[in-house]
C-alpha cells in the first residue's frame, strides 16, 4: 500500500516537472517503484500461499487441534489491511493502541540487623528479609487515549515478607497532549512531583533501596495520591518548568500528612505512631486547606556540550493527623541537584558520570494529645514516668532534615559503579525530653526521627537494556541502636515495551 501511495505521490510531482531530464529521471524512479511494487505484490502472494498451506495443514490435523486451528484463523479478520505472516502479532503501538511492559525486580541477601523491614530498610519496596524479596512486579500500560489525552498506569504486584500477595496502584493518570499556553494537566493517581527519586519507579533507581530521607519524609512508597497536577513550561531560553500538584492528604501514601500509618499488604500499623501521637485524627476534607499541595520549580542548563545540570526546588504543604485539635500541618521543603557528564562518543550511553543530591527539611506541627483517652478506652497508653499517669503531650513543631548524595560512574558499556551517602536526623522534641514509657519500656528518642546514616557502594551490570544485576553493600549506623552490615543482590527483567527515559 505504501509503495502504491508513494508512486502516486511521484506521479503527482511529475506534473510539475518541466525539464526533460527530470521527466526522464522520474520515469526511471517510477519504473523502479513499479518494480518494487510488483516485487512486494509477488512477496505478498507467496506469503499468502504459504499461509494457506499452513492453514490446510492445520485443518488436516485431527480435531484435537481444532482449537489451535481456530486460533490460527483469527488473524484472518483484519485481512482488509494487508497483514502478512511476517508481520508480528503484537500488542504495541498501532495495533492495540497501547504499550505494555512488565518489570520484575527481586533481591537476595542478608543483614546483621534484626529489624530489616521498617528498621534498616525503610522503603516499601526495599529488600525486607534475609533470603529473597520480591521488590515488585510492575505492569506498565501507556498510550494515547485520543487526540487530547495520553494515559499511563503502573500496577504493582508483590508478595510481602509474610508471604501475603498484594497489589498496589502506583500510578494511573491521564495527561493533556497540547493545552494552550504551554500548560499541561495530569490527573488521577500519581507520584507527587517532589525532587528526583519520588517520581521514579523503583526499577529506575540506581540503588537497591529508597534513600533514607525519602522513605522517612515522603513515605516508604513515596508521596503519591489521587489528585491533579498543573505544570507550565516557562518561556525562558533555558528549561524551566513550574509544577503545582493538588492531592488528597490522607491515606497510607501520604506519610508525613494525614497518613493512617503505612500498611503493606494488610499489615498492622506501626505500634507507636509518629511523634507518639495517634494517627486517628480523621478530620475529612472541609476546605481546600485540607488537601496536599506540592509546588516545584525545575531548571536545567547545558553547561557544556557534554554536561547537563538540573536544579530543582520542591515543597509539600498539607494537614497532618497528629493530636486531637485537627488543625495541625506539615511542611516539607526540598532542593535537588543533578549533574551528568557523558562522553561525546558515547556507546549505548557509556561512559558517563552522574551526581545527584537531594536535601529536605520537614516541619511537622505535632498536635496536643492526651493518652488518658486511650487509657480510658482500655488501650495500652504511653505513661509519663514522672507522674505515673498516661502522658499529656503538648503541641510543638518538630524539625527534621536529611539528604542523600550519590555518584554514578558508567565506566564501560553496561557497567555502573555507584556510591551513595544518606543522612537523616531530627531536632530533639519536647516529647523526647519527657520521661515516657510504653509497655514497660522507656522510650527516649523517637526512632522515626533519630539520627542515622548509611554508606552504600554498589555495582550494576546491564547485560542489555532489558535486564540488570546489582550488588550493593549497606553500612547502616543508627543512634541508640548501633551499626549494621547488609549485602543485597538485585536482579531485574523487563518484558515488552520500555518507556523512553526522562533525563
Amino acid at each position: 500500500m505504501t509503495v502504491l501511495a508513494s508512486s502516486l505521490g511521484l506521479g503527482a510531482s511529475a506534473l510539475q516537472a518541466q525539464e526533460a531530464g527530470e521527466v526522464e529521471q522520474l520515469k526511471r524512479q517510477l519504473q523502479q517503484m513499479r518494480e518494487n511494487f510488483d516485487k512486494a505484490q509477488r512477496e505478498h502472494r507467496e506469503q499468502m500461499e504459504a499461509l494457506t498451506k499452513k492453514l490446510e495443514a492445520l485443518a488436516a490435523q485431527p480435531p484435537a487441534t481444532a482449537a489451535a486451528a481456530a486460533a490460527a484463523e483469527t488473524p484472518e479478520e483484519p485481512l482488509s489491511s494487508p497483514w502478512r505472516p511476517s508481520d508480528p502479532i503484537r500488542v504495541g503501538r498501532g495495533s492495540a493502541y497501547m504499550d505494555i511492559g512488565l518489570v520484575g525486580t527481586f533481591a537476595a541477601g542478608g543483614s546483621t540487623a534484626d529489624d530489616i523491614e521498617g528498621g534498616t530498610q525503610l522503603g516499601g519496596h526495599d529488600p525486607n528479609q534475609n533470603g529473597f524479596t520480591i521488590q515488585g512486579v510492575e505492569l506498565n500500560l501507556m498510550g494515547a487515549i485520543d487526540p487530547y489525552f495520553r494515559g499511563n498506569a503502573n500496577v504493582l504486584f508483590g508478595v510481602d515478607s509474610e508471604g501475603e500477595s498484594f497489589i498496589e496502584l502506583e500510578e494511573a493518570w491521564l495527561e493533556t497532549i497540547a493545552l494552550p499556553g504551554n500548560f499541561q494537566v495530569r490527573a488521577g493517581q500519581y507520584l507527587s512531583e517532589f525532587g528526583r527519586i519520588n517520581t521514579q519507579h523503583p526499577h529506575s533507581w540506581s540503588f537497591v533501596d529508597t534513600p533514607l530521607v525519602n522513605a522517612r519524609f515522603l513515605g516508604p512508597d513515596g508521596l503519591r495520591n489521587p489528585g491533579a497536577r498543573l505544570s507550565w513550561l516557562a518561556p525562558t531560553p533555558f528549561y524551566s518548568e513550574l509544577f503545582l500538584g493538588i492531592q488528597d492528604s490522607h491515606g497510607e501514601t501520604a506519610a508525613s500528612f494525614r497518613s493512617s500509618g503505612h500498611s503493606h499488604g494488610g499489615h498492622d500499623e506501626d505500634p507507636l505512631p509518629f511523634a507518639y501521637r495517634h494517627r486517628d485524627n480523621d478530620r475529612g476534607v472541609d476546605g481546600i486547606g485540607d488537601l496536599l499541595f506540592t509546588p516545584r520549580l525545575a531548571m536545567s542548563f547545558d553547561v557544556t556540550d557534554n554536561q547537563v545540570l538540573l536544579l530543582g526546588a520542591s515543597a509539600a504543604f498539607g494537614p497532618n493527623s497528629s493530636g486531637m485539635t485537627g488543625d495541625t500541618s506539615t511542611q516539607i521543603y526540598g532542593v535537588d541537584v543533578t549533574w551528568k557528564w557523558k562522553s561525546p562518543s558515547a556507546h549505548a550511553g557509556f561512559p558517563f558520570v552522574m551526581w545527584q543530591t537531594e536535601a529536605m527539611l520537614r516541619r511537622y506541627d505535632a498536635g496536643m494529645f492526651d493518652w488518658q483517652e486511650e487509657a480510658d478506652a482500655g488501650e495500652e497508653a504511653i505513661i509519663d514516668e514522672n507522674t505515673g499517669d498516661p502522658a499529656l503531650l503538648s503541641r510543638e513543631t518538630l524539625t527534621d532534615y536529611g539528604f542523600y548524595t550519590q555518584l554514578l560512574w558508567g565506566f564501560r558499556k553496561g557497567w555502573v559503579a555507584g556510591l551513595r551517602y544518606d543522612y537523616v536526623t531530627g531536632e530533639k522534641g519536647d516529647y523526647e525530653k519527657m520521661n515516657l514509657s510504653y509497655d514497660d519500656s522507656v522510650l527516649g528518642r523517637d526512632p522515626e526521627r533519630n539520627r542515622r546514616w548509611r554508606l552504600a557502594p554498589n555495582l550494576t551490570w546491564y547485560p542489555s537494556e532489558y535486564s540488570k544485576v546489582r550488588l550493593q553493600y549497606n553500612y547502616d549506623d543508627r543512634r541508640d541502636i548501633g551499626s549494621d552490615h547488609s549485602v543485597w543482590l538485585q536482579f531485574e527483567f523487563l518484558l515488552g515495551a520500555h518507556a523512553a527515559h526522562k533525563f
Binding site: T2, V3, A5, S6, G9, S13, Q16, E22, Q25, N36, S86, P88, R90, G92, P147, R150, E175, T176, I177, A178, L179, P180, G181, N182, F183, Q184, L233, T236, P237, F238, Y239, E241, A298, S300, F301, D302, D305, V308, L310, K340, K342, S343, P344, S345, A346, H347, A348, G349, K413, G414, S464, E465, Y466, H498, A499, A500, H501, K502, F503
Partner: protein, 344 residues
C-alpha cells in the same frame, strides 16, 4: 444553535483564525435566548483570541526545525537553506539510539514548527518522552510538523519474529537507512513536502532545493558506484549491523559483525569465530563508527592483517565529513575504496 456550536467547536480544534465568521453569525439568531447566545459568543471570541495568541506566531521569519540526528539535519539544511532555524539533538559522534533526553531539548521542541526524525524505532529510547513534555501540538505524531523520514523507504531486515533473545532488534526493520543515497532522496522529498506545507510562501524554494539535492545525488551515485564496483561482492566486517543499506547499494557484503547480536558486546569466543570467518572469506577491512570500540576492532585487525576504517553515518562524525551529506558519502566511498584497494 447546536449546529453552530459544533461548527465553532471544530474551528477551535483546528486552531484556525476564524474570529470574523464567528461574530458575523451572531445576527442570525432566532429570537429566544438571544442574550444567552451573546454571552456564549463573547466567551468563544475570547477563547479564539487566546488560541490565536498562543498558537499562531506573529510574522514568522524562519521555520523552526529540530532534527534528531546530524544526517537528517544535513538534508534539512539542503532543503531549507537559510529559510529555516535548525537545531540537531544527537551529536555526530554519539550512538543515536542512546541520546540523553536533555531538558534543554524540551525547550527547543516546544518552539519547533517541525521535528524531523528517522522513525523505525531509531530514537524510541529517548524521543517519545521529550515530545510528551514539549506540549507542542505541531510536532506530535500525526501532526504536519512531525516528519517521519522512514515513510516510503523500503526497510530491510524487518524481523519475521520479534524475539529479544536475538538481541536488540527493531520491529520496523533496520533503521540505519540513510547511508543509501536513494533513501536520502526520499527523505529530501519528505522534508520538502513538510516545509512547503508549513511555509507555503516558500514552497517553491524548498521543492527546488530538494530537486537540486536529488539531482546532485543522481550525478554522484554512478560515480560512487563506479569507485566501489571493482570490489563487488567483497566482505567488509562491521562492528554493529548498521550498514546493510550501504552494502546493498554498493554491492559489498557486510555480513560479519564484531557484536554477536545487535547491541550485545563482543565476547572473545565470538571474536575468535569472526577472525576464522574473516580469514576464510579473505575479508581485510573492518569498519568502526566513532562511538564503537576501536580497540576491539584493532585487536581483530591485528590477528587478520585487516585495516580498520573509521566510518560514520553522520556528517561530522569523522574528520572530513563536516560538509554535509554528499561530502559524507564521498568520504565513505573513498575511504572504503582505498582500504579495499590496499588489500589487493
Amino acid at each position: 444553535m447546536r449546529a453552530e456550536n459544533i461548527e465553532s467547536q471544530h474551528r477551535l480544534d483546528s486552531f484556525l483564525p476564524l474570529t470574523v465568521p464567528l461574530f458575523s453569525s451572531r445576527g442570525e439568531g432566532r429570537g429566544a435566548g438571544k442574550v444567552d447566545r451573546f454571552k456564549v459568543f463573547d466567551l468563544r471570541g475570547l477563547l479564539m483570541v487566546t488560541a490565536l495568541v498562543t498558537f499562531v506566531p506573529v510574522t514568522q521569519a524562519k521555520l523552526n526545525v529540530v532534527a534528531t540526528t546530524p544526517d537528517l539535519a544535513a538534508i534539512a539544511r539542503e532543503v531549507g537553506g537559510d529559510k529555516i532555524e535548525l537545531m540537531t539533538m544527537a551529536r555526530p559522534t554519539e550512538d543515536p539510539h542512546f541520546v540523553d533526553a536533555r531538558p534543554s531539548f524540551i525547550v527547543r521542541l516546544n518552539k519547533a514548527d517541525a521535528l524531523i526524525h528517522g522513525g523505525a524505532e531509531l530514537e524510541s529510547g529517548w524521543l517519545p518522552k521529550l515530545i510528551e513534555q514539549a506540549r507542542n501540538a505541531r510536532i506530535i505524531s500525526a501532526a504536519q510538523g512531525n516528519v517521519n523520514c522512514c515513510e516510503g523507504v523500503q526497510m530491510l531486515e524487518v524481523p519475521e519474529q520479534l524475539d529479544r533473545s536475538k538481541g536488540d532488534i527493531h520491529a520496523l526493520g533496520n533503521p540505519h537507512y540513510l547511508v543509501d543515497p536513494e533513501n536520502a532522496k526520499i527523505v529530501a522529498h519528505h522534508i520538502a513536502d513538510a516545509f512547503s506545507q508549513l511555509d507555503a510562501a516558500n514552497g517553491g524554494f524548498y521543492q527546488a532545493n530538494a530537486k537540486r539535492f536529488s539531482d546532485a545525488l543522481n550525478r554522484k551515485l554512478p560515480e560512487w558506484q563506479a569507485k566501489l564496483a571493482p570490489f563487488k561482492g567483497q566482505q567488509v566486517v562491521a562492528y554493529h549491523n548498521s550498514w546493510v543499506y550501504f552494502a546493498e547499494r554498493f554491492g559489498l557484503k557486510i555480513e560479519l559483525f564484531l557484536e554477536p547480536k545487535p547491541g550485545i558486546p563482543p565476547s572473545p569466543a565470538h571474536l575468535a569465530g569472526v577472525i576464522a570467518k574473516m580469514k576464510e572469506a579473505g575479508a581485510r577491512v573492518i569498519i568502526v563508527d566513532p562511538y564503537l570500540s576501536r580497540r576491539t576492532a584493532e585487536t581483530v585487525a591485528r590477528s587478520t592483517g585487516a585495516t580498520v576504517v573509521e566510518v560514520t553515518q553522520f556528517p561530522g562524525g569523522v574528520k572530513g565529513t563536516e560538509g554535509g551529506y554528499i561530502p559524507l558519502l564521498d568520504y565513505l566511498v573513498n575511504a572504503l575504496a582505498a582500504a579495499l584497494e590496499k588489500k589487493n
